[in-house]
Symmetry: C3
Subunit: 121 residues, 3 copies
Amino acid sequence: MPFVQIAILKGKSPAYARAVADAVNAAVIETMDFPADDRYQVVTEHEPAMLQLQTREGDRVMMSLVMRSGKTDAQKKAFYRTVVERLEADPGIKRENVMIAIAENQNIDWSFRDGLAQFVP
Amino acid sequence: MPFVQIAILKGKSPAYARAVADAVNAAVIETMDFPADDRYQVVTEHEPAMLQLQTREGDRVMMSLVMRSGKTDAQKKAFYRTVVERLEADPGIKRENVMIAIAENQNIDWSFRDGLAQFVP
Amino acid sequence: MPFVQIAILKGKSPAYARAVADAVNAAVIETMDFPADDRYQVVTEHEPAMLQLQTREGDRVMMSLVMRSGKTDAQKKAFYRTVVERLEADPGIKRENVMIAIAENQNIDWSFRDGLAQFVP
């Protein structure tokens, strides 16, 4: 947890995509009190016309996270702030070009491996 | 808001994909009282076997929206109705071949730019 | 219902992708009391670096489901268990390499066809 889907532009290098994924993951771990190995990410690449972030152009990131209910407003705000700082640092994406949406669920709604509900044993 | 993910068949023209995205966006703005520039969309393309809408064949659209809690049933119904009308008009997708699912979240769950939580300043 | 998004590795055969989708669908129908024709799935394929399931390697599946509130913990647990059993049987994916996240919504949040809210007529 969380499960993060990250949409970026097509045609970037593997290093670019990796930097985006790493930046998001680092922000998750650092700001919302998740375990260090809590990395669950799917990164997808899209033609510019398929990635509509209002009228914004150039490098951009649209991400959605599913996570358990319970994180505070302060934690979420710290996450937003840290994500854009890290994406600006590497791979160099403008802060205005990052959109984030969170959806929450409950303990029973997760199975991380082995077909078990790890939060509801 | 809302954040809309739209899955269509692969192999269509850019104009087709654009028409789908425009139709959905117009319906969002028109029926659910969102600002005119509130466009946040990711469009993805899939082989027919990867886009399973029961046993329905031919052009089809499966979309999911994340939006803040608060829209009325009447607004959502108007959205559904308008989306299929517009998709039927352009690019010509049958009304029976459009599936929509909405998931709701809260004010704190959005950052549209700059790493800020715009609804919880 | 439910709406299921399934992310797998790129480069697999159509039969592999189909087996994954079929396994998930069978588990949904079998364990959570959905109608037999309730299949709504989008399968996506990703480079290994784009499909980050902690540090797990090799064949893996990350899936998210949106479904109406109301399924019991027992049903969800049965679903998790059955999914990994079926994916292990065909196409042969290790149980430890399957991640599942569920998000819930309400009756009004679905339109399966024709622009109608089928659960709120």
